[in-house]
């Protein structure tokens, strides 16, 4: 949670600085006729327009619904699978004492299922096993027979039940053979396992694994979508020539800041809707989405979504100012999306393996790939708070540098018409 607090503080400081600058400008001697206040500064006006137009757009509404549907499926389907596990039918060949029957029932409970115990003779037991009418057969309390071998990695309900029953009946038999007193037997039966601590982080599993995947997909989809919106938004203003009307009134830095801020707030709003929806749904259906390091990872995902957008949006905006027509969007966006795709694939690999490589840890400190790598490290509990903070600071510093460079390119290229502007031309020319 410390990281979240730090992230909020950093964003708040940036907003206050922007508002402070706008206030200083609007308080100039010639502005007394306008009566503008800090809340209606140019940046906020531009940002508000961006937000209004994006929220109103069909892409936002349909996109949000599609993502929500995907998240709902990812959360609900596993719980449906768990909740609908069929009762297991256990065939008994010969007799089984009541205390051992009770062990079978309790084993089923620990395997997340229920059992229906039927007595069968040995001849029909095996044919019923093959036909699937029986899930397992206990022969005289001494042997368990199943239709197919059970692998150690098998996580099906039947496999877990078989392993639990085999283990518990074995223990019960050993206890009986040891001729222990009832008190000793009870103490042995209630013995818990010692806690196990590993020096290396283990593989991501269960809830954390799911959270990591949802978070990664969310960051990838939203960074791709909103950065492309930024590029297209800048290009739209240039190609429709409205840019000339706008820049006759506001400064390029104000226009660009308002645009990326507005689109960024739309992205954050959409991400927040998705996260809140996921959390409420997870709680409603009894998903274990919030177990382990998952809560911290959710906060980290939102923070890095903002940081990632903050870094990339300037680059995409500068690219948009170089273009002239819509058909140039693809060729401009593709090279910019390569580090995003690379970071995404590396993060997926790390989540799958559960053991981040040294290269992956390095990527967590590079602003283009950190939005993918760092939340995964948080999910794997493989990063300290100060390492996290260090990566955030590196990202913020680099974002400031990128923003300055992008603004310079934007200022020089946005009013150029004709052929697509090349970076070389921008570098060798003056502004406008």
């Amino acid at each position: 949670m410390k990281q979240a607090v730090i992230g909020v503080v950093v964003v708040a400081v940036l907003i206050l600085r922007l508002r402070s600058r706008a206030k200083r400008r609007t308080a100039g001697p010639k502005r007394n006729w306008s009566g503008l206040g800090p809340f209606t500064s140019d940046v906020s006006l531009v940002a508000a327009r961006e937000m209004r137009e994006r929220f109103r757009g069909r892409i936002f509404r349909v996109g949000t619904l599609l993502v929500l549907a995907g998240v709902a499926a990812a959360i609900v389907i596993p719980t449906l699978d768990k909740g609908t596990s069929q009762p297991q039918t256990v065939g008994l060949v010969g007799s089984l004492p009541a205390r051992l029957r009770a062990i079978v029932v309790s084993s089923a409970d620990s395997a997340g299922t229920t059992v229906h115990i039927v007595s069968v003779n040995e001849e029909t037991a095996y044919s019923d096993l093959r036909s699937g009418q029986l899930d397992l057969v206990i022969v005289a309390g001494r042997e368990i027979v199943v239709n197919k071998p059970i692998a150690s990695t098998d996580t099906s309900t039947t496999a877990e039940l078989v392993q639990a029953v085999a283990r518990q009946l074995g223990v019960a038999e050993a206890v009986a053979a040891a001729h222990l007193t009832p008190a000793q037997s009870a103490a042995l039966a209630s013995a818990g396992a010692l806690p196990v601590r590993s020096l290396q982080p283990g593989k991501a599993k269960g809830a954390t694994h799911t959270t990591s995947l949802i978070g990664l997909i969310l960051i990838f989809v939203m960074l791709s979508q909103y950065n492309t919106w930024t590029l297209i938004g800048v290009l739209e203003e240039k190609s429709s020539r409205v840019i000339e009307v706008l820049l006759a009134t506001v400064r390029p830095i104000q226009l660009l800041t308002g645009k990326v801020l507005g689109i960024g707030l739309v992205a954050f709003t959409q991400a927040s809707i998705i996260v809140v929806f996921a959390l409420v749904l997870a709680k409603g259906v009894g998903s274990d989405l919030l177990h382990g390091t998952a809560p911290l990872e959710i906060v980290s995902t939102l923070a890095w979504l903002l940081l990632g957008y903050g870094f990339y949006c300037w680059v995409y905006a500068a690219a948009g100012s170089l273009a002239q027509r819509q058909d140039q969007v693809q060729s401009l966006a593709f090279p910019l999306s390569l580090p995003i795709i690379f970071g995404y694939i590396m993060a997926l690999t790390a989540v799958g393996s559960g053991s981040p490589s040294t290269l992956f840890k390095v990527l967590a400190y590079l602003p283009p790939t950190a939005p993918f790598a760092m939340p995964v490290l948080v999910g794997l509990d493989a990063v300290t708070w100060w390492e996290f903070l260090g990566s955030v600071l590196i990202s913020l510093v680099c974002t400031v540098g990128v923003a300055r460079l992008a603004t310079s390119i934007y200022r020089r290229a946005i009013l150029r018409t004709g052929a697509r502007v090349k970076l070389r031309d921008v570098a060798t020319s003056g502004a406008r």
């Binding site: 502005r31 006006l45 429709s240 409205v242 006759a248 009134t249």
Partner: protein
């Protein structure tokens, strides 16, 4: 110094091309000033320079004696040559947005939007998207965007281009009305007849340099005398060809527009015409703006 937009020594080069070459002129408030010049003369660059849309190598733009900055530009209205509006945005919301960027409150911007759309005859399109409008109506919206905030200076690049006569009349009337209200109006156009009708003054530039500036009436009465003579039966004004000290400016349906040197007596011209046939028109005319333009650039 009140109500004067001054452009002082503007210079701008693009590589080997000189767009503006020490260009200086002023636009007084209360007048419609036509800004003329052939294609590539530097008109658009000049107008963009007023709004800081092109960097100047030298020169200053001043309003009320103060170098123009962002605060001053907010009180200016601009209609660029390449019309610029968000194509997918509603007309009303777009105008309100642009008005607010000029410092208007939301209520004032909404009120002004309603007022100007009504004034320009497109109030029913307030909920239309811009790209659903005809060219003429888009032009009206663009003009409304320039006027919405009650600008002190109005600079319009080719505002009449592509308009039908009723559109020209509507926009022309607005420009004159703005000037009468004390606004400083500068607009460029290649439609010299309209410019002559609308403007009190004109400024003509070529190759980024000032060629002529002055009141339309003064320019019309300056230069050689213009004589319009119509001789019945001679639609090509063959009678006037070869007259010493007389050049034919144009022939329109048999009416020859003649330019007389100072040494030429009009009586001599009349005699030559009467010799050729029955004279049905013989009248002195003032110099047209198109003639001022052509002669200035000759």
């Amino acid at each position: 110094m009140a109500g004067l937009l001054e452009l002082d020594g503007l210079s701008r080069r693009y590589g080997t091309i000189t767009a503006l070459d020490n260009l200086s002129f002023s636009v007084p408030a209360g007048q419609v000033v036509g800004f003329l010049g052939p294609n590539g003369a530097g008109k658009t660059t000049t107008m963009r320079a007023v709004f800081g849309l092109t960097d100047l190598d030298a020169g200053t733009v001043r309003w009320l004696g103060v170098p123009v900055g962002q605060a001053e530009r907010r009180r200016f209205g601009y209609m660029p040559e390449e019309r610029g509006l968000y194509p997918g945005m509603l007309v009303g919301e777009q105008l309100e947005y642009l008005g607010r960027l000029h410092g208007m409150s939301a209520i004032d911007a909404r009120s002004a939007t309603t007022s100007w759309l009504g004034r320009l005859g497109i109030e029913e399109r307030v909920r239309s998207k811009v790209d659903a409008l005809s060219h003429g109506n888009q032009q009206r919206v663009q003009l409304a965007a320039a006027l919405l905030h009650g600008p002190e200076v109005l600079i319009l690049d080719e505002p009449l281009a592509g308009l039908d006569p009723s559109g020209i009349d509507a926009i022309g009337a607005v420009l004159v009305e703005q000037a009468r209200a004390g606004c400083c109006v500068l607009f460029s156009s290649h439609q010299l007849d309209q410019v002559e009708d609308l403007c009190e003054s004109v400024t003509i530039i070529d190759h980024g340099r000032l060629v002529v500036t002055g009141k339309v009436d003064d320019l019309a009465h300056s230069g050689p005398r213009r004589l319009v003579v119509r001789v019945e039966g001679d639609r090509d004004a063959l009678w006037a060809r070869g007259l010493t000290g007389v050049s034919i400016s144009e022939v329109d349906a048999g009416a020859a527009r003649l330019v007389l040197d100072d040494s030429v007596e009009s009586e001599a011209v009349l005699r030559a015409a009467m010799t050729a046939g029955r004279v049905t028109e013989f009248v002195f005319r003032r110099r047209r703006l198109s003639e001022v333009f052509r002669e200035a650039l000759a």
